[in-house]
Amino acid sequence: MITPPEISWLAIAPDLALTLGAALVLLVDVQWKPVARVHAWVSGVTVAVAAGLTVAQWIQAAPADALAFSGLITMDGFAIFTRLVLIAATALGLAAGWRFVAGLGRRGAEAIALVLLATSGFSLMVASNNLVMMFMGLEVGSIALYVVAGLARERRESEEAAIKYFLLGSFASAIFIYGVALIYAGTGQFEIVGIRDLLAGFVVSSPAVIYIGVGLVVVGLAFKVSAAPFHAWAPDVYQGAPAGLVGYMATVAKVAGFAAIARILLTGVLDLSGSWLPVVAGISVVSMLLGSVLALVQGDVRRLLAYSGVSHAGFIMTGVVGGATDAVLFYLAIYAIQLIGAFAVVAVVAGPDAAGSSIDQYRGLGRRSPLLAGAFTVILLGMGGLPVTSGFVAKFGVFTGAWAEGYEWLVIVAVVATVVALAFYIRVIVVMYMDEAQEEGTLRIGPERWVLVLAVAATILWGIFPASLLDLAADALPI
C-alpha cells in the first residue's frame, strides 16, 4: 500500500504564492484588461506575500521538521536564505524591467507571469532535497526564462538570444538529468541527505558511476551559472534579451544554480570531495581568468557584464571549494543586488528594450547624468571588490574559505584575477568620467531609480557594516 506523503504547506508556501500570483496576473488581465498599474500592484503583493511566508519559514524552521513531503523538500536555513535572495531579486528585477514590461502593452501580463513562475521554479529548486525535484524546479525556472529572453520578439537579437538560451539550456538540463540518473544508478538514492548517509555509512562498490554522475550534474549546473568553459551562451543572451529583465534572468539562474551546486556537493557527496574538489577548483580557475581577460576586450557593456559574470562564477566557486556555504550565500546575495543594479543602469542608458549597449553610449555619462553615473560607479567598484564595498567583504569571505581548505594557490590566482577584473570595471568608469559625451540630452529614468538606490545602499552599507547579513548567512546552514 502506498502511504501518501504528509503535507507541510509552509514548506512550499512561498512557491505556491508565486505560482498563484502568476495565475492571478493572467486571470486579471484576461478578465478586466487593466492598466499596467494594476499588474504592478498584483505582482507587488505577490512578491511581498512570498517574502512574508519565507520569513515565516525562517521563524518556524527547526531542525526536526526541516524535511517535508517525505524528504522531497527541505526548510533549512540555506533554502530560506536563498529563497529570500531570489524573491528580492524578483522584486528588484521587476522594478528594473518595469518600463519594458509596461511597454509590452497587452503582453505585459505574460512577462510578469513568466517572471513570477521562473522565481517559483528556482525557489523550489533551492529548497529541494531530491534530485528529481531539483530538476523539476530547474526546468520550470529555465523554461520561463527562455521565453523571457525572447519577449522583445520584434528584435532579431532577442529571438536569437531566446533560441540560443533554449538550445544550450536544454542541453545543460539534459546533462544534469543524465547525471542524476547515474547517481541514482550508483547509490539507489535521489535524496541528497540519503546520498550523504549512504556514502558515510557504506563503501560503494562502483564509485565510477557516481563520479561520472556528479561530474555531469556539476557540468549541467555550471552551464546555468555560466562558469567557464560552459559560458558560451551568456554574452549573446545578455546582449540580446530585453535590457530591463536581463539582470533578473542572470541573477536568479546564478543564485539557484550555485545553491544547487553547493547543496549537492557540500551536503550530498562531501565524502567524495577528494574527487570533485580538483575539478571544481579547475572550473573556478578557468572561469576567473577567462572571464576577467575576455571582459577586458569587450566593446559592449552587456557582454562585459556577461564575462564579468563568468569571472564571478569562478570567484563563487572558490567559496564552494572552501566549503564555506555562508560565504557563498553572502556573495550570492551581494552579487544579485549589484548585477540587477548594473543592468538597471544599462536599461536606462540603452532604453528598456534595446539590444546591445555599446560602451560609446556611456561616454561622458558623468556629465550628462551624474547621479546615474555615480550609482554605476559604486556598483562597478563593488563588483570589482574594492574595500569599503560589500563586494570586498564577499570576496574576502570566499577567499578565506578556500585558503582554510588548503587551496592557497587558488586564492593567489583569484586575487590576481581580481586585479584584472578591476581593470575592466575601471575602464567603464574611465569612459563615463574622462571622455566627453557623444550624445546629449538627459536620460529618462523610471522605477529603475529605486533599484539603484537599493543597490548602492547594499554595496556601501553592507561594505562598512557587513555583520547583519553575514550573521544571517552564517545561520543559514544546510541540513
Binding site: 567598484l381 574594492l386 574595500p387 569599503v388 570586498f392 574576502f396 577567499f399 578565506t400 585558503w403 582554510a404 592557497e408 586564492v411 593567489i412 586575487v415 590576481v416 581580481t418 586585479v419 578591476l422 581593470a423 575601471i426 574611465v430 568620467y433 574622462m434 557587513p466 555583520a467 553575514l470 550573521d471 552564517a474
Partner: protein, 509 residues
C-alpha cells in the same frame, strides 16, 4: 580622538558634496577651511603625544566578531609624523589648485577622501582595516590623476592603479594566510597587528608572507625595479596630486615596510636585509642618474623621489638606531621638500605652460622669489647642513655604515649625484640671461603662493636646526622595532648601531 581624525575629512567631503554644484567659487575655499580641522587635531595630537608610551589613544571597537576584525586605531612615534605631514599637506595641496578650472567640487571631495584613507592607513593597527584604507584610497587618487591630469592621464592613472592593486592583491592573500594561521594556533580569529606578530611561523611561510607584503610596499615606495609607474603618474598628475603622491602616498610603502614587515616577519626581514639594501642602493643610484638626463622638470623631481626613497629603505633595513631614525625623519623630510618642489614646478607650469627644462633660462631675473624658494628647496633636498635633508641623510648613512659599509659608501654617492641633477637643473632653468621672450614677462610669486611655501620652508629650517623636536617623538618607537627584531631572532645589531642613552628597553651593556 583618532577616530575623529579619520572621520573629519570624510565629514568635510560630505559637507562639500552637499554644497550645490552651481556655486563654483565656494567649494575650494570651503574644502581648504574644512581641512584645517584635521590639521589642528593632528597638531594637538603631536603636542600631547607621549614618546615613551608606545601605541596610544587606541580606539578599538569590534567590527565583525566571528572574523576577528576590529576598528583598531593607535598612534606611535612612527605614524605620528606621517599623520601630521598628511594633514599639513592636504590644505596646501588644495590651496595650490586654483588653476583647476573644471569639476572643482569633485576634486575637493576626492582629495578629502584621499586624506581620510591616508590617515586611516597610517593609524590602523588591524591588518584588515589597514588593507581597507590602503586599497580604498586608490580610487580617489585614480580619479585625481585621471580627470585632472595632462595628456596621457588615463594611461598613467590606469598604470598606477594596476600596479598598486596587483601588489595589494598579493598582500591580501598573505593577510588571509596570517589570519588563518592565527586561527590554527590559537583557535580564535584576529587581524590585530600585535596578535599576528606573536604567531609562530615556519621559515618558509614567513618568507612567502614577507615577500607578499614587501612587494606590495615596494611597488608603493617605489623600490627599483617596481618604480616604472611613478614617473608616469607624477608627470601626468595635477600639482596637488603630485604633491600628495610624492609626499604622503609613497610613504605608505616605507611606513608599511617598517611597521608591518619588521613587526610580523622579523626573521625574514633579517634574512632579506641584503636583498632590500641592494635594491635600495640600486634605486638611489639609478634614480639619480636617470634624473640627471631628464629633459622635463617634473620628471626630474619624480626620479629624484626614487633616489631619495632608496635612502629610506636602506635606513630601514640597516636595522640600527640611526638607520631607523633617519628613515622616519627622512619620510617627513622628503614629504616637505619634494612636496614643495612639486608645488614650485606647478607654479612654473601655471606661468609658462611647459615643464621642459630647455624652454627656460634666466628665470631668476624675472621671478627672483620663485627662484629663491626653488634654490632653498634644492638645498634642502641635497642635504645642506642646517636644513632637514642633512639630518635625515646623515642619520641614514651613519646608521647604515656599521651594518652595510660598502653599500653605504655607494649610497653616499647618491648625495653627490643629487647635487648634480638638482643644481644643474637650477642652473639651466634659473641662471643666465633670459633669452626667450616668454620668460621675460613672468610674474613673481603671489602672496598666496608664498603663504603655501612658507610653512614648508619654516619646517625645513626648524627640523634642520632642532631635529630633537621630531627625534624625541620618534626614537622610542624605532628602538622598540629593533628590540622586537632582536628578541624574535638571533640578529645582533652591529656596533656601534644602537644609541645607548635613548635605548629605553634597558640595555645591559
Amino acid at each position: 580622538m583618532l577616530t575623529a581624525l579619520v572621520l573629519l575629512p570624510v565629514v568635510a567631503a560630505i559637507v562639500v558634496m552637499l554644497v550645490p554644484g552651481g556655486r563654483r567659487e565656494v567649494h575650494l575655499p570651503l574644502g581648504i577651511a574644512l581641512s584645517i580641522f584635521p590639521l589642528a587635531l593632528a597638531g594637538y595630537l603631536f603636542w600631547v603625544f607621549e614618546p615613551a608610551a608606545g601605541f596610544q589613544y587606541v580606539d578599538r571597537v569590534t567590527w565583525y566578531e566571528p572574523w576577528g576584525i576590529d576598528w583598531h586605531l593607535g598612534v606611535d612615534g612612527i605614524s605620528l609624523p606621517m599623520v601630521v605631514l598628511t594633514t599639513l599637506l592636504v590644505p596646501i595641496a588644495l590651496a595650490a589648485s586654483t588653476s583647476i578650472d573644471r569639476r572643482i567640487k569633485e576634486f575637493v571631495v576626492y582629495t578629502l577622501f584621499l586624506e581620510a584613507g591616508l590617515i586611516g592607513a597610517f593609524l590602523s593597527l588591524d591588518l584588515f582595516l589597514f588593507f581597507v584604507f590602503f586599497e580604498a584610497m586608490l580610487i580617489p587618487m585614480y580619479f585625481i590623476i585621471g580627470i585632472w591630469g595632462s595628456e596621457r592621464r588615463i594611461y598613467a592613472a590606469m598604470k598606477f592603479l594596476i600596479y598598486t592593486a596587483f601588489g595589494s592583491a598579493l598582500m591580501l592573500a598573505a593577510i588571509i594566510g596570517l589570519a588563518l594561521t592565527h586561527v590554527d594556533q590559537t583557535g580564535s580569529a584576529s587581524f590585530a597587528l600585535s596578535d599576528l606578530a606573536a604567531l609562530d611561523l615556519s621559515v618558509g611561510a614567513e618568507r612567502l608572507f614577507f615577500a607578499a607584503f614587501a612587494i606590495a610596499f615596494a611597488i608603493k615606495v617605489p623600490l627599483f625595479p617596481f618604480h616604472t609607474w611613478l614617473p608616469d603618474a607624477h608627470v601626468e598628475a595635477p600639482t596637488a596630486g603630485s604633491v600628495l603622491l610624492a609626499a604622503v602616498l609613497l610613504k605608505l610603502g616605507t611606513y608599511g615596510l617598517l611597521r608591518f614587515n619588521m613587526a610580523l616577519f622579523p626573521e625574514a626581514s633579517v634574512d632579506a636585509i641584503p636583498i632590500m639594501a641592494i635594491l635600495a642602493v640600486i634605486g638611489i643610484i639609478y634614480g639619480a642618474v636617470v634624473a640627471i638626463v631628464q629633459p622635463d622638470l617634473k620628471k626630474l623631481v619624480a626620479y629624484s623621489s626614487v633616489s631619495h626613497l632608496g635612502f629610506i629603505v636602506l635606513g630601514t633595513f640597516a636595522l640600527t638606531s640611526g638607520g631607523l631614525q633617519g628613515a622616519v625623519i627622512q619620510n617627513v623630510n622628503h614629504g616637505l621638500t619634494t612636496g614643495a618642489l612639486f608645488l614650485l614646478v606647478g607654479m612654473i607650469y601655471d606661468r609658462r605652460h611647459t615643464k621642459k627644462i630647455a624652454d627656460f633660462g634666466g628665470l631668476q631675473k624675472t621671478v627672483p622669489l620663485l627662484a629663491g624658494f626653488f634654490l632653498f628647496m634644492t638645498f634642502a633636498s641635497i642635504g645642506l647642513p642646517g636644513l632637514n635633508g642633512f639630518i635625515g641623510e646623515f642619520l641614514v648613512l651613519m646608521g647604515s655604515f656599521p651594518a652595510l659599509p660598502s653599500l653605504t659608501v655607494i649610497a653616499a654617492l647618491g648625495v653627490v649625484l643629487a647635487a648634480i641633477y638638482l643644481l644643474w637643473a637650477y642652473e639651466r632653468v634659473f641662471t643666465g640671461v633670459p633669452d626667450k621672450d616668454e620668460n621675460k614677462a613672468l610674474s613673481d610669486l603671489s602672496a598666496r603662493e608664498i603663504a603655501l611655501l612658507a610653512p614648508l620652508a619654516a619646517l625645513i629650517v626648524v627640523i634642520g636646526i632642532y631635529p630633537g623636536l621630531l627625534l624625541d617623538k620618534i626614537t622610542p618607537s624605532t628602538e622598540a622595532v629593533i628590540d622586537h627584531v632582536v628578541e624574535q631572532t638571533d640578529f645582533v645589531v652591529p656596533e656601534p648601531g644602537r644609541i645607548a642613552d635613548v635605548h629605553v628597553a634597558g640595555d645591559e651593556g
